[in-house]
């Protein structure tokens, strides 16, 4: 299922495939979470409300999506709008323009998150053990000791393994870019 394109995944969700829906939530959960928490710096309880509302609306509005492949920008826009609504509610002042509510540098943050999602997809294609190792270290902030215990590898070898896995990830991304260049892009 993880090898499906975004468009294929959306089509399956629309057909009522519950496993596809769970995969869609998993695929974009970090992205939506990051927009709310990093992009808009929402408090955890506000971020949770936005997160659930994003997926609830996505589920009920999949039929209105014009381009299945555009689910990512669609989710980004929906998350942005709901974050702004939440900030507007909590501001409790006169109607405020979106530009005033949106944190400075939000567009740059979103570009970074888009790039991060590309890297994330490549990481998943790379598979374990590298995917798990890099996820534990960079995304979950686990120590060498914790990672070593969980993956049953000597903590003293983890730094070198991380370095090798990052090199593999770079190769994966460069290979993907070369393939896209050769075919003239998507």
């Amino acid at each position: 299922m993880t090898n499906l394109t975004d468009a294929q995944l959306v089509a399956r969700c629309r057909a009522g495939d519950q496993a596809a829906w769970a995969e869609l939530v998993e695929r974009f959960s970090r992205y939506v979470y990051a927009i709310a928490v990093q992009g808009f710096r929402l408090a955890e309880h506000d971020a949770e409300d936005v997160f659930q509302e994003v997926f609830a609306r996505t589920y009920t509005r999949l039929d209105s999506l014009r381009d299945d492949a555009a689910i990512k920008p669609w989710l980004a826009q929906l998350t942005r709008n709901l974050c702004l609504d939440r900030l507007r509610e909590t501001a409790r002042t006169q109607p405020t323009a979106d530009e005033e509510l949106e944190p400075g540098g939000f567009d740059e943050t979103l570009v970074g998150l888009d790039d991060a999602l590309v890297v994330r997809e490549a990481l998943e294609l790379l598979g374990d053990p590298c995917a798990e190792l890099l996820d534990r270290f960079f995304c979950r902030d686990e120590s060498y000791r914790t990672i070593g215990g969980a993956l049953e590898i000597p903590p003293g070898t983890i730094a070198s393994r991380i370095s090798r896995c990052l090199a593999k990830l770079r190769e994966q991304l460069e290979g993907r870019n070369s393939a896209a260049d050769a075919s003239g892009g998507r």
């Binding site: 970090r30 992205y31 991304l173």
Partner: protein, 86 residues
Amino acid sequence: MSEQIRWNEERLAALLALLKPAPAGWIEAAAELPRLRSVLDELVARAEVDAGLRAALVADLESALIAEGVEPTPRVLDELRQRLGE
């Protein structure tokens, strides 16, 4: 910018760190939406033709949801109250 610079290891590490996992409970709740929607649809349909069930739902929505295997979160309670026309 060349791809080699764009995807150097330092940048990859920084980009990986941007996407932290959302709390597991949030993901589980969102993944459960189709099943939840199905249960709520069925419950509302039954309530439309069964006055006794409708009265029981209005009287104690939380217990009714628990009996249907649905966690009565504030979001679910709000939605169901709206759909029952309270």
